[in-house]
Amino acid sequence: MTNTYMQLIRGTIVEEEIHLTLEELCQACRASEEHVMAWVTEGVLEPIGDAPQEWRFTGPALRRARLALWLARDLEINPPGVALALDLIDEIAALRAQLQRNGVR
């Protein structure tokens, strides 16, 4: 293996500085537009804007869309099922955060 050194790269925080368009979100998580639209309909993703061309997705949508894609593609879960699974995963994450706050590891 050889190493290549690069100069210092400055990234942008997706959650704070960037709103992703439908196309960018699809490109970033490799989902089809049909998938993303179905998830928006089910409330898995909540973009700003009315029409799909105007949709802007905030940072958390990136993680949710990648997870949704895995649920849909590998576990063959339909959009309402994806919505339910994501809600439950969010709830578990919130409960774990609460445990952590109280010092239970």
């Binding site: 210092l8 400055r10 990234g11 993680r63 952590q100 706050r101």
Partner: protein, 312 residues
């Protein structure tokens, strides 16, 4: 490079049906998905499962993998035989790539991007976006930091051999970043084909576990052990925060578990998070006679029944 037995990954015999492979993958993937599992090995296991499934779920790739023979054992030194995939045609641009994760060198050599065959001239496409996870220290989020990360990319050398190259990126971690956020590094993903532009690299940020501090989004929690008299009478203490030491006034009558908030001393940002100091009252053991006398004096001085809340 080491041979990988993808059947072993699923605990299945080579004669397994496509349905059995699918079921085994789903069962294990549900268990080890990093968003679901708390197992520290989950991420690595999940990656292995994804790689094995990418090969075995596809009948063409599975057949090509199978024809290398069953004499190979996991971990054995391995080089792909010349023209090992002759007669198999792999299709689809997403072939093998799965999720832009770094697959093993074994996978890359057999099924990686360059193994997909020569690129047709005049073909243009934007490179794929890649994803990776980076763990930083809490202190890095307070001050900003520079980190070197290594990503593995496969490329073809002059002889047409596939080699894995380590690509080192020096990135700047902005002050105020929080766990679960993503950094987008424009143009640092997969190179484009032809005149297509390069994809982006997304880095998901996580924190290394800290022995003292617990983190919840932008707020930080710290347990502060106190002697009973410090909690009851109040005191002033130097407390180490991720941002340096602060002088903390513990008010008289501080109760265990009732946290003190240091506004704006959490992870910086707009608004910044808060730092919560959670007092934990620690009872000193009474071993010497004078220590026991002190407890006896307390018993005499207080009209206190610890079991009052149990009375109905």
């Amino acid at each position: 490079m080491k041979f990988k037995d993808y059947y072993e990954t699923f605990g299945l015999p080579r004669s397994a049906t496509q349905d059995e492979i699918k079921r085994a993958y789903r069962k294990l993937a549900r268990k080890y998905h990093p968003d679901v599992s708390k197992d520290p090995e989950a991420e690595a296991r999940f990656k292995e499962l994804g790689e094995a499934y990418a090969v075995l779920k596809d009948p063409e790739k599975r057949a090509a993998y199978d024809q290398m023979g069953s004499q190979w054992k996991s971990g054995q030194d391995f080089q792909p035989p010349p023209d090992w995939n002759a007669g198999f045609e792999f299709s689809g641009r997403d072939f093998g790539a799965g999720d832009g994760v770094d697959h093993s060198d074994f996978f890359e050599a057999l099924f990686g991007r360059q193994a997909r065959g020569t690129q047709r001239a005049g073909m243009h496409a934007r490179g794929e976006d890649h994803h990776a996870k980076v763990l930083i220290d809490l202190e890095d989020a307070y001050r900003g930091a520079q980190r070197s990360i290594s990503l593995r990319v496969s490329e073809v050398d002059a002889q047409g051999h596939i080699a894995l190259r380590e690509r080192r990126l020096d990135i700047s971690i902005p002050k105020g970043i929080r766990a679960g956020q993503h950094l987008r590094l424009a143009g640092q993903g997969e190179p484009g084909l032809g005149e297509g532009s390069a994809g982006d690299l997304y880095l998901e940020i996580g924190f290394n576990p800290h022995p003292q501090f617990r983190i919840d989004d932008r707020d930080v929690y710290l347990d502060l052990p106190l002697a009973p008299w410090e909690a009851a009478l109040g005191c002033s203490l130097a407390v180490a925060t991720p941002d340096g030491s602060v002088q903390l006034t513990v008010p008289a009558g501080t109760a265990a578990g009732k946290s003190l908030r240091l506004k704006g001393k959490g992870i910086p940002g707009n608004p910044p998070g808060d730092l919560y100091v959670v007092p934990k009252v620690v009872l000193p053991p009474a071993t010497s006679e004078s220590e026991k006398d002190a407890y006896r004096a307390m018993a005499g001085a207080f009209d206190f029944n610890a079991r009052d809340p149990m009375k109905s």
